[in-house]
């Protein structure tokens, strides 16, 4: 691939990011101007100032995604071991594909009744449980290829030497799985971070994550705040990518 093609491709990739950043810094954008007539940092100051509820949305999103990713990663790591070593492993694993039969938003629509009965409708806990239904099976599928005979032998060695199951996890399995656990955690964090339909339906708009804010601002035709909320949504995944790249380089 020629240098020009590479630069053109990178330019194409960066265009949406630059475009959203431009809108988040704009104030007036009458047709047919290509760029906003006024530029200002005032939209970004809203996040720091806490007005418009954007700061609150950032907090809710971070808290929700961290909780979902932590719970799903740890539960799926533990459960996947019991699935992976089962003689009918493939049959068990096919259950993990069940949630993907539904679109998340349709799943939420069909489960609304149960969330109302359980008193979880319109609550942070309800959204968290609903997101577990899509992230946990993903985690199980992710870890299913991690378990192998070598790990099983290491685990048995710990027990032969008098160690307990908890010690086998703490001293051997978790340290060995550190990389996989981190990768799974980041992926589940992103699934939760990007989620809109299910969060909106089960949260009834009362759990104001950033994705809900984007839609709210678009509905209000406030494109500048919608662009700002979009930038806030994109920032953590980009930071994670950069971090991943930095770690890979350091290890390389």
């Amino acid at each position: 691939m020629s240098r020009f093609t590479k630069i053109a491709l990178i330019g194409l990739i960066l265009f949406p990011f630059a475009f959203l950043l431009m809108l988040s810094l704009g104030k007036q954008w009458p047709y047919p101007a290509i760029f906003p007539e006024q530029w200002s940092l005032s939209n970004w100051q809203l996040v720091l100032g806490g007005s418009e509820g954007l700061g609150n949305s950032v907090l809710v999103s971070v808290l929700l995604s961290l909780s979902v990713a932590t719970l799903s990663t740890s539960l799926s790591f533990w459960v996947s071991r019991h699935i992976a070593y089962h003689p009918k492993r493939e049959a068990w694993l096919s259950l993990a594909y069940f949630p993907y039969v539904f679109a998340p938003v349709i799943l939420a629509a069909c489960l609304q009744f149960f969330f109302i009965v359980a008193g979880l409708y319109g609550t942070f806990g309800g959204v968290l449980v609903a997101q577990l239904f899509i992230t946990f099976p993903y985690g199980v599928i992710f870890f299913s290829s991690f378990w192998n005979e070598r790990l099983r032998s290491m685990e048995e060695l710990v027990k032969t030497l008098g160690g307990s199951t908890a010690q086998a996890y703490a001293k051997v399995l978790v340290p060995v799985a550190k990389g996989a656990l981190m990768t799974c955690f980041f992926q589940l964090f992103l699934i939760s971070w990007f989620e809109y339909g299910l969060t909106n339906l089960i949260g009834v708009g009362k759990v104001p994550t950033l994705t809900l804010r984007v839609f709210q601002y678009v509905s209000e035709a406030n494109i500048f705040l919608a662009a700002l909320a979009s930038c806030l949504l994109i920032l953590p995944p980009v930071a994670l990518l950069w971090l991943n790249r930095a770690v890979v380089f350091r290890e390389g």
């Binding site: 047919p32 699935i83 799943l107 069909c110 809109y196 990518l241």
Partner: protein, 285 residues
């Protein structure tokens, strides 16, 4: 003994979090659509199913979802295969190997917003066309957003899927040692066209079939993108279902659930077909 209980506990939790919600959701939707539960339930009836299955709009919705998924995935596959086969190393080494991941950090709702502001009548491309003298007024810009052909939806999905498949195929190319196969094919006298269409594309598509299929399902069931850039007259399945559920007319709810069940059955049939095909291929291998 303790280990056995832990294994039972682990597997029970697995069933509870992955299968139970789906079985409960489908059962509830089925019962509601058959008039056996819900606010207006009056006992068993097939009326809602007859209404849905006899409604041309429902079939149009299913057809439109299939069409959007097929065109989006088709275009994305074509572009990503072309990029990877043109320069396989470019996406595993160097600057592009980092930048190609960036579009994956854009959530669907943000992509929909971007498409709206980029391709819409008052969007950036329309403004650029006006400045270049290609159009004289905003109305002259074509309907690429909220249109009946789903152009905005398709473009959004293509932008999201192309980098994903490019990364996927670039890694597959390396792991499957496709370069060596192509070199062998060239040694045996295969021309460039034959090497691409008889060796590279079949190997990559066959190995990536399950992933392509799952992405196809993801596009078919997508919600945020058609919600912002889709048309009101031709809707995708998720939009039609949720709109019917959220209307003030309670009589629409059983139909919404009937659509959910019908869509689920369709996806299950496709999924079973894929598993059957995969098993057959593995048997051959």
């Amino acid at each position: 003994m303790q280990q056995r209980w832990a294994a039972y506990g682990g597997r029970s939790l697995f069933v509870l979090l992955s299968a139970v919600p789906i079985v409960a959701g489908v059962s509830y939707a089925l019962l509601y659509s058959l008039g056996l539960t819900g606010v207006l339930s009056e006992g068993f009836t097939l009326a809602h199913w007859q209404e849905v299955l006899g409604d041309a709009a429902f079939w149009r919705t299913l057809g439109f979802s299939l069409y959007v998924a097929a065109v989006s995935i088709g275009v994305a596959l074509g572009l990503s295969l072309a990029l990877v086969l043109r320069s396989p190393q470019a996406f595993t080494k160097g600057a592009l190997s980092f930048f190609i991941y960036l579009p994956l950090s854009i959530p669907a709702i943000v992509m929909a917003f971007f498409i709206f502001q980029w391709l819409g009548k008052g969007g950036w491309l329309s403004r650029l066309s006006h400045q270049l003298g290609l159009i004289g007024a905003l109305e002259q810009f074509p309907d690429w957003v909220n249109d009946n052909y789903g152009i905005g939806i398709i473009v959004a999905h293509v932008i999201m899927a192309t980098p994903f498949f490019t990364i996927f195929f670039a890694n597959l190319y390396q792991n499957e040692r496709l370069g060596e196969y192509l070199h062998l094919a060239a040694t045996l006298g295969a021309k460039r066209r034959q090497r691409i269409f008889r060796v590279a594309v079949p190997v990559l598509l066959r190995r990536g079939l399950a992933t392509v299929f799952l992405y196809f399902m993801f596009v078919m069931g997508s919600y945020e993108i058609p919600l912002l850039v889709g048309s009101q007259s031709v809707q995708m399945v998720s939009i039609r279902t949720i709109q019917r559920l959220q209307r003030y007319n309670l009589g629409d709810i059983p139909e919404a659930y009937a659509i959910s069940v019908a869509y689920t059955v369709m996806v299950v049939v496709l999924l079973v077909g894929l598993l059957w095909y995969n098993r057959k291929q593995m048997g051959r291998a």
